[in-house]
Subunit: 328 residues, 4 copies
């Protein structure tokens, strides 16, 4: 019943991503717009268990739309995986008269929300926030576009020095089990080769490709590698392997790491966060629950949280061909 | 007949936009991939008339994917609007054995291509390149995403100083007759109000909104105005009007201007350019003509050039409501 | 007497500049380091008159070193120009047991501090914070280096589009009566000509220079103009003048405006702010007053506030010659 | 004899750094200004041995002032360490009528130039180009300021995610045997602790400092480590050590690597490059040799190459104290 919702709690959970603050702002202000109270829950589910709550008015989210990270902070909570933890969390919500939850995070966070809903019939809506873009039900997760820009900006810098020295660089990027970041940032950075978990190109083909690249007259090469890649060697072993087999190359390694999670969100991520935040609150106010809001085919749509959690966001295989062509 | 195409010409025309170089690179390399010759035509249709051509191999587009502007340069051509001009252009293409054209540009450029095709039955494919996002048949034009990031980054800086001084800023952005940039960058920058050509909010409602914003406790305000806005006053007149009617505000004006057309393209624009460039060439090689390639609902699709030219890309009206809510 | 200082007030005044927050942080933490209390005074001298004070501990300035603007806000105060206003301010300081002041700002702010000191014998140390770099006694004012980077980044973008279209751009930059920003950012941006208040090149020489530039084969031109330039025409009149006298050019104007005052401070400005903030507080604790801290010949040094206020920071005339040579 | 110099060769050698292209541009154009021919020598001393030369006119360096890397490419040359190699190089210079050399690089490059000068009495002037700022005779090397900005921008991003998760990050930066980058970027990034080769703080003091930081209420910590640091453990061993001794911290490591060498140069580096390039050529034209041009106490000055090579640029020890205070 929509009528019942007078106070909404919002939390961020799991790995943080750029745009989370913009989403918090949108949730808080949509509550204000509809005269619903909004409670910020700190440190994700752990803060829910510890009752780390704070009322948030429209002015409390001034000047955060362009800030990376999350003002509500994030954490992984082992306690929430226990029945006792969730019970404590539920009691805290009840005692604070919170009627519904907006959970901003990734797959693990949604799974937690789903279990909580099933046990306590508590209304939950998810907003997909992760740089990995690995969530079913949305073409873009919050922070993914920003992370792509961060990666190409860094590889642009590496390219400067690579092409001044005719070097080969292996650049490892994030993405967990998915190759979205590697594939898209690789194309954007003009990488000569891209290694992703979805396709095991094999060491032989990699050497072939590098040889072809050299033969074609390229003075430097960038190979982008997804952290979840399954070529069977980590990035340092890969370097050793190429060092051994292609001594003509001066090979270097760069692991981009956590910088990919931070930074000022791109305009795309800020607008997406605003749209998703509005939709999340209004979906709760319509009396619905257990959905994730997402952007699919240019529209903000709902996907059952259960599907989001079970499904898998596929990379666009056509992009592999695009990469092969434009890196010729 | 696909069989006939042995050499493809590529040009950029109209206002330049970030991503044009990435598209040129993709066109050149897709030609190389398919063993088709590629000719760069300098300064748009004017260079076509003057025979300003240059063969482009795969290596000629090294290290341009991240460069703003267009290495082929752009120009507006009055001569191409005459029958004589187009005849000269056709003769030049024939003499250089160019069989088909890829035109990267906006509406005016496509109209030119269409007329040329009708007169000489010359195969033409268009790639939408403009920051204004005002082209029917694609959800994103090349350069639009980059321009949005440029605008929000600048307004972030203006916000720093605005909030240090409790000021009101009118920021004018590009977009010609369309409000895409203003609306999206306005939401992304957290603007208090957004004035776009598609909606005449009226001066009274603007004052109301500013008063409400002040009353709500906001310490500074940003109003984003599309250059094509139809409120009946230019941005300096608007300032005077508000100065007169709201003396409590210290009003400043900033016209962002041409910086919006430049800059390193975002990852999104680079990937989009790569996909569109591949598709443009392969569409010609399939024997098709008179299409624009575009991104619609997450897919690269073809739209007849005629529709692209006659149609109009609409803003998403739901975004106006999102803006109203999140700027509360 | 150094022994007497138990509580220091800090304020920002005049136009804000990037690095002010880093300076506030350094002042607050140096106080904490020496076990001296620190009071933030909001909105400059106006807040001093209105008693808008807040105690600041070391943790209150977390995560502001990289933020543009000033968390203490700034304002221009007419009241402080009256004897009554200053008396009120003095009484507020006394009532709050504030023993000394750190004033972060420009010339006007220092003049106010000097008058206040003379009337009430109140210890004052100034930190030069302005993007204009027009203060005697320091080679670099806080925010100047960041503003230079902002300007060259924007002109880089304008250059992209200028060189795609063979255009001439007049770009107006800030600097009040001084040409520091124009001269240095002009060289940094590779400007063909730079107009500064310190040198009236005259309209004839400007035209000559532009003609020479065109003749030398340059495809585009950027002319950087200081806002205080004295060529006798504003930037729009200049455009008209060149339009008339050099119709071969397509001339555009861009006024960069307030974005130059905002943005994340450069590393240089953050380190400078940290050094100046430490020195300002420790100078007060040594019992000294009426000095400005500054960076001269790579050393942090003191300059009597009176000299800072009366003197004028000169541009390095040799840079004009450097510009003439490298823009050949 | 100044009269003799009709043609100057310019090369970049050693690790590349942002601003090298701006320096090449200044050298080329200063030659053009003085009607002296300029020859670009590719790939440093190796290209000198192989005769990889190209005449460079004023227009050949258009639009490179803002590009990272070096258009002349760089390389390390083993052949130049042999007498035969240098003889070949000398013969190539003579055959091409090159009368003098401008060498842009670091210590190793200058040593090579010095030996070459001693053997063949060939005029050489050095321009200090390295991000490490480890060269005696200049307060700033080319690329150092840009590298500092790159590092603080990346650590700003890491801070976003660190403070969202209450984490401790060890961030390793470049600098070879010198702590300039670590110390300055550490202060600029607000690092809690900075480890540099010039000061072995010891593991105990590091733990102490981290404990104090935690106790003071800081939610996250950044420790910046110079690659040449001598604490006796590499950055991964340090992480293990802290993991073991301070289990309350969630420790992560980030090695910034080669991105620090690339990127668009800052305005400071562009202006410095322009000034040094002009001075280098004009010093040769005055008949002088064996000097390095540098920026000392705000002036462009000459230092004998021999001193530059033997000396060592010291860090400013006062900055260590500044860091201790502002990170309280």
């Amino acid at each position: 019943m929509a009528m019942n919702i007078k106070r909404i709690g919002v939390l961020t959970s799991g790995g943080d991503s750029p745009g989370m603050n913009a989403a918090i702002r949108a949730v808080v202000r949509t509550c204000a717009f509809h005269n619903v109270s909004c409670i910020g829950i700190y440190r994700g589910y752990q803060g829910m268990i510890e009752g780390d709550f704070k009322e948030m008015g429209a002015r409390s989210v001034n000047n955060i739309i362009n800030k990376g990270g999350t003002i509500l902070k994030s954490a992984r909570s082992k306690d929430f995986m226990t029945k006792e933890g969730r019970e404590q969390a539920y009691n805290n919500l009840r005692n604070s008269n919170i009627d519904a939850l907006v959970v901003i995070g990734g797959n693990g966070s949604f799974t937690g929300g789903l279990v909580f809903n099933q046990e306590y019939n508590f209304p939950v809506i998810g907003i997909p926030g992760t740089i990995d873009n690995d969530i079913y039900g949305t073409s873009f997760t919050l922070g993914y576009d920003t992370a792509l820009n961060t990666v190409v900006e860094v590889i642009d810098k590496i390219r400067d020095t690579a092409s001044s020295h005719n070097r080969l660089f292996f650049v490892e990027v994030m993405g967990r089990d998915a190759g979205h970041i590697a594939l898209n940032a690789g194309i954007g950075a003009g990488a000569e080769e891209i290694l992703i978990p979805e396709e095991d190109m094999g060491l032989d083909r990699l050497l072939d490709s590098l040889r072809k690249s050299k033969a074609s007259g390229k003075s430097s090469s960038i190979v982008v590698i997804a952290e979840g890649d399954k070529i069977g060697k980590n990035v340092f072993e890969l370097k050793d392997y190429v060092d051994e087999n292609m001594p003509e190359y001066d090979v270097r390694v760069s692991i981009l790491g956590h910088m990919q999670r931070g930074g000022t969100p791109s305009c795309f991520d800020r607008v997406l966060a605003s749209r998703l935040g509005v939709k999340a609150v209004e979906t709760l106010l319509e009396g619905k629950s257990n959905y994730m809001v997402g952007l699919l085919k240019d529209e903000i749509l709902l996907t059952p949280l259960e599907h989001a959690v079970k499904g898998k966001s596929q990379i666009d295989k056509k992009l592999i061909r695009v990469s092969d062509i434009v890196s010729i």
